[in-house]
Amino acid sequence: MLRNFLQSRIVKILATILIVFVVGYMLYTGARLL
């Protein structure tokens, strides 16, 4: 059940958004300093 949920389309999309958000934040911080 949990496995199916973790492999569902919505979780994949949300995980991608989260990663883009975090990586974006790191790059944004670096760009501000440079």
Binding site: R9, I13, Y25, M26, T29, G30, R32, L34
Partner: protein, 740 residues
């Protein structure tokens, strides 16, 4: 011909112009040549540094020029270095501590939120600007829908103009571009020259030379801090390529790279899934039965398992050959393979046992000659009797050993040759190893330059457009091969050898049946039947005819609906795999692929479009520009997602494995149905449709069959069923009527 020459000259001129233009670009990239000279200077000093460091460590007079940043720059305004890194290591340390503190700073996070909000704000404004366009398109389509037209082949004026523009103006340009790319590809000197020139402009040579120069410096100095300077130099060297290529092109390249990463990740997942399947095949016994309800995917699994088992046999055969070759590393194995090829081509050896026997018989002669003659004497003998060379193959038995001690036993050269020849017999098969009672497409490719052939059994590295070039189908299974007793065809030549390879038998219970169904058949019957053909004995002993170095080269795979339908004597020899549950077929693309979002959006739009277009086709048969555009865009989108599904599709099957004794001890495993492997014309679901092919032509359309007149079937209608039940009822009623 003249025209052709003219065309070639014309394109050569364009290519020459591009070459001159590329060369002229040196004026735009004046630093690249100087930078290359400097990198060669660095290489020289680094090599000298390395040399002196070896001679007198710690007292090196050579300066490390490789660690100095370029001090000069022509056109500094034009090629201002990009700034991705702080200017020095000390600055980097300061930057890093400031970065870490800023990363966890709430105000900075709020600023980030503001930036995102700005991005969303401008993004939504663009979307809102595009919104009226979408509404306009939908309105255009809706307006077209309400009309009714039954005139065939009619096109609107706008569409005719558009087609004229598309096919008379755009298409020729695209075709010319395509032909020009093909021309440049054919005449490799052009693109190689362009690549060489632009590699110089973009400092790629300097980067490569500097890398080697730094390697010599680093291995002698172990100065880790200098690594940062190299990163700065790399940043400076990459400036021309970063600044010259427009941002839009970088964006396209980034998207391409992202797609590449996604598809490669999917391929890795598919290969991992194939490895899981291979482990199931490896763990299975020689005879494996697949059971499941109709439509569960038994034949699909059977076909895939057959291909995997075949791959295993080929790889095991090659492994045996390599192991044996390693035992006698100086034996001329190529000459031996050439001889085995002759024996196979002339059909002197056709199966594993024959190959073993052939070389076993020659062992005595080899030993006799080896003990009596020196190699020099043997060469003289061979001049008079050249056929004897096929005992020695030019092996110098005086210099090299004829036995090998593996720690357990002493192996004679000819014992190794027996195994090698038998393994090579299997490995060098030109067709395939599968015998089946339905057609399975295999796509193994054999590459040979006249020496050791190499088999390419990679299921994924295949282009469907070239499928017809390398495809071949499995061998027709002659079941008499599995009948050591009575045969259906007396004196069947196919049944003279021992079975080797992969036997895939679909619906095996229809062939061998169980005891209940065989009640009426007798062992003494003159015709072959499952009781007197001794097929169960063949299955019990099947391994013995196909073993090389203790590895069996035989696999029997079969499927059926009910395991009990096949008699226990055969079924209990192996495992029964039952397909318990199937998941959804989805592409193996990684979670970060845009597929999961875009495909969802496309499916939603496509659903609306299909409803609309169905209704449109109901009303009209003519074509208009909006419909033409919408239809082609939707078809392109559908084709894109269909291809992704087909190429990377993966379905998880939960399987239950138990002994053929059906003792209830179940082992749960996973099996992957891989779309690219299973559905690329691999087999047809209606593979045995010929059962329904009749000599008399069918003239009855489904509309011609009689229908019931009402909800209650009449007596006459029941009789039209030609059913045993109705016939018996009718007879009983008739008898009752007579008695009355």
């Amino acid at each position: 011909m003249k025209k052709l020459h003219k065309k070639q000259d014309y394109r050569h001129k364009i290519c020459s112009a591009i070459t001159i233009l590329s060369l002229g670009m040196v004026l735009l990239f004046p630093n690249s040549l100087l930078r290359l000279v400097a990198s060669f200077r660095d290489l020289g000093t680094s090599f000298a540094f390395y040399f002196f460091q070896l001679l007198s460590p710690g007292n090196n007079p050579i300066p490390d020029t490789v660690n100095t940043l370029p001090q000069w720059q022509l056109f500094p305004e034009l090629w201002q270095p990009i700034r991705l890194l702080p200017a020095s290591w000390d600055e980097f340390l300061q930057f890093w501590s400031a970065y870490l503190s800023l990363l966890f700073d709430w105000v900075n996070f709020q600023f980030y939120w503001f930036a995102i909000s700005d991005f969303l704000f401008y993004g939504s404004r663009i979307l809102l600007c595009l919104f009226p366009l979408g509404i306009g398109g939908i309105m255009l389509l809706s307006m077209d829908k309400d009309k009714v037209c039954t005139e065939r082949g009619k096109k609107s004026k706008a569409l005719l103009w558009f087609e004229l523009f598309l096919f008379r103006r755009v298409r020729p340009v695209l075709l010319w571009c395509k032909s020009f790319v093909a021309f440049v590809g054919d005449d490799s000197k052009y693109w190689k020259i362009w690549l060489a020139i632009w590699a110089l402009h973009f400092n790629l040579y300097s980067i490569a030379v500097s890398f080697i120069a730094y390697y010599f410096y680093f291995v002698s100095s172990w100065n880790l801090l200098s690594l940062y300077t190299q990163l700065l130099k790399l940043q400076s060297d990459l400036t021309p390529i970063m600044r010259f290529i427009p941002g839009m092109v970088w964006l396209v390249l980034l998207v391409k790279l992202y797609n590449y990463v996604c598809t490669q990740t999917a391929m890795k997942t598919l290969r991992a899934a194939e490895r899981v399947n291979r482990s199931i095949v490896r763990q299975s016994s020689i005879i494996t039965t697949i059971g499941g309800d109709p439509g569960a995917g038994k034949t699909n699994m059977l076909s895939t398992m057959s291909l995997i088992a075949q791959k295993e046999h080929f790889e095991n055969a090659l492994q045996i050959m390599e192991n044996r070759a390693a035992q006698f590393p100086n034996f001329p194995w190529q000459r031996f393979r050439d001889y085995v090829d002759i024996l196979i081509d002339s059909r002197v050896i056709c199966d594993v046992n024959q190959a073993k026997k052939y070389f076993k018989a020659r062992k005595g002669m080899y030993d006799k000659v080896r003990k009596q003659l020196t190699v020099k004497q043997l060469r003289r003998v061979l001049r008079r009797a050249p056929s004897y060379k096929f005992y020695f193959f030019g092996y110098d038995y005086e210099l090299y050993p004829s036995t090998y001690n593996d720690g357990l036993k002493v192996i004679h050269l000819y014992d190794a040759l027996q195994s090698y020849a038998a393994a090579y017999l299997i490995y060098s098969v030109e067709s395939n190893l599968i015998f089946s009672n339905y057609s399975i497409r295999t796509d193994g490719i054999v590459r040979s330059k006249g020496n050791l052939p190499l088999r390419d059994n990679d299921f994924f590295n295949r282009d469907p457009a070239e499928q017809h070039l390398y495809s071949q189908y499995s061998h027709i299974l002659d079941v008499d091969i599995l009948r050591p007793g009575k045969k259906v065809k007396e004196g069947n030549e196919n049944a003279n050898g021992a079975p080797i390879g992969v036997y895939a038998i679909s619906e095996i219970d229809k062939e061998f049946k169980n005891m209940n169904k065989l009640k009426e058949t007798k062992i003494k019957d003159t015709e072959a039947n499952p009781k007197n053909d001794l097929h169960d004995v063949a299955l019990m002993m099947i391994r013995h005819g196909a073993v090389i170095d203790n590895k069996p080269f035989i696999t029997v795979l079969d499927d059926l609906q009910r395991p009990e339908g096949w008699e226990a004597g055969g079924r209990e020899l192996g495992n029964v795999i039952f397909i318990a549950d199937k998941g959804e077929m989805l592409p193996a693309l990684p979670f970060f692929s845009t597929y999961w979002f875009t495909e969802g959006v496309f499916s939603w739009i496509n659903g609306k479009w299909e409803n609309f277009y169905r209704d449109y086709c109901y009303r009209r048969c003519d074509d208009t520009l909006p419909i033409f555009l919408a239809r082609n865009v939707m078809a392109a989108g559908k084709a894109h997602y269909e291809r992704l599904q087909n190429m990377y599709g993966l379905q998880l099957l939960h399987i239950e494995i138990q002994s053929g004794r059906l003792d209830g001890k179940i082992r749960c495993e996973r099996w992957f149905n891989i779309s690219f492997l299973a559905y690329s014309n691999r087999y047809y679901t209606d593979c045995l449709a010929s059962v329904w092919t009749k000599e008399e032509r069918n003239t009855k359309h489904i509309d011609d069959f009689t229908r019931y007149a009402g909800g209650l079937a009449t007596k006459e209608e029941c009789q039209l069923q030609n059913s045993y039940f109705q016939r018996d009822i009718h007879k009983i009623q008739e008898n009752n009527n007579k008695e009355v």
